[in-house]
Amino acid sequence: MMGAMAAALNGVHFALLGGASVLVPRSQRREWRREWRAELWHARQMRRPGGVLCVMGEQEIAAFCLGAFQDALCLRGERTEEKAPRRNSAAQCLLRLAAITAAGVLMAELTPGVRRAANVGRYEISSDLMLIADASSGDGKEPISARRYRGWKASQQRYFETFAFYSLDREPAPSSGEPAWRLAYASENLFQVLGLPLRFAAEDGSGSAGAYAQVVLSCDAVEREFGGSAPLAGLPIRVGGQMAVFAGMLPCGAWRLPGRVDAWLLEPDEALGKAARGFLVARLSAFGKEETEGRGVQITEGDPEEPAGIFWGEPIETRARGPWDLYRFAALLALLALPAVTSVSMGDYSFSTHRPSWRRRLVRWAFLSAKIGMVLVCGYYLPLDLAYWRSAAYAYYAPQYLQLAATFLLCLMGMRWALADQKQRCPVCLSKVTNPAQVGQASRTFLAWNGTEMICLGGHTLLHVPGLPTSWFSTQRWLYLDASWEFLFSGVGEG
């Protein structure tokens, strides 16, 4: 019994040492483990006299083993310190930024809510399209009858050349326990007139299946009903309790007309119910474009069969305000605010006329551009992830405000960091200057400069930052070191 317990405790001791050894740099690990195992042997000899186990003794042995973690961390810390100069290299900086950027992009691609939000605003609608609604009641948002649509389409028009129509199903009803479909009944040419692309549609435009109407599904409906995998074009599917032929999927964020719709049932004009009321999409003729000049117009019509109607035609917003627009606005604001939070000077002043070669200067500017570029990419994706990672679809208000604020702050602080970081990088090797040393005294600032001196560990430059800016020394300066300094730096920074 005692032997088994001792063996179990020994196993725990070795496990503790094994765990601690993982922290030790690989090159030192073998010797470190050998030493600690030897020391453990002595600890056991002293704390288990005659091989007898006692609580106090075992506690001391356990405490001894736990000390191995501190030793391992100490060795690891020393190795980290040795590597520190290399961590400050330009490549490491870019790699870290690239990793953050990649994580942001990856998260945006893998999170459905973020992916959908990113698509909003990608699809443009032609600027010569108008949405016509009944304005008799005053607000200009009431639907008009399908009969009137057919009448307009059949007659010669001066202002308009093409019409399309859709009506919203006012009473979506769940069928056999399925969630309610939000249906719209539309003329067959609706998406052609709008110029919106349909995904997964038949390439030859076919897809009619006799008695069944064609149906276009929203991306939300495809996600919800088919798990994101759209059915084959031309395949009959059940939509809201009726059969229809799948004609394509409208990409997320493409629909910007009134009504939230899961499926558009495309029907011939004569099949659209006489009493159906909906919205009219009209393409302006050349004459109409000249007359309206992009503004909304009031249309009055005297119909012999219906009372005189007053309608309001409003240009369809050519592009939805999506995350991209918010991002551009916030990034521009951040750019304008940047001079208020940091100096945009690069601190390129030198004590001498010496300048790095044009190639090095080019590399330096490319490095700064890469940093700012990646900061701006992060400024788009990370706030988008933050605002929409829990949203099922693009939403207004709270996520938009969150995205706006986060983008502004991230872009502002990111560009500020990029500039500050650049000012502390040696113009020759782009590694960060280090080992700050205080030089001079503030009380003697008119006799000699005082401030902080930092050095490039590659031995290329010294950076002098004035502690108290004066008219003759107001900004940081680089002092380029000549070859006579090289012997001082041989071996420095080698990990």
Partner: protein
Amino acid sequence: MAAQGGTEVKLSHTAAMILQAIHAGFVYGFSIMEMTGLPSGTVYPAMRRLERDALIRSQWEKQSIADAEQRPPRKYYKLTTAGKATLEASRRRYPLLERLVPAFTPGEEARQT
């Protein structure tokens, strides 16, 4: 912190005690722990730093000696010339150091044989 010609290295009391213990003949980690009463988490990292600063150096015991005594070989530590100089300076700084860690007495266990 490398001790180089003419530079006096100032050690902490713990490091000075470990240096004194090694000088006194307690030449492997566990014996230093026993002598100084310091925990393993203090002694071993301190010895790493002393070795890094070239105040002590280590050497593995011969396997044959360890085999003869039926135990694993020990890693022994020894003061370098710089270490001896630093210890002298530390003794002036910490006058009780020699009393805290008395010199080796024959027959005492847990020391180098």
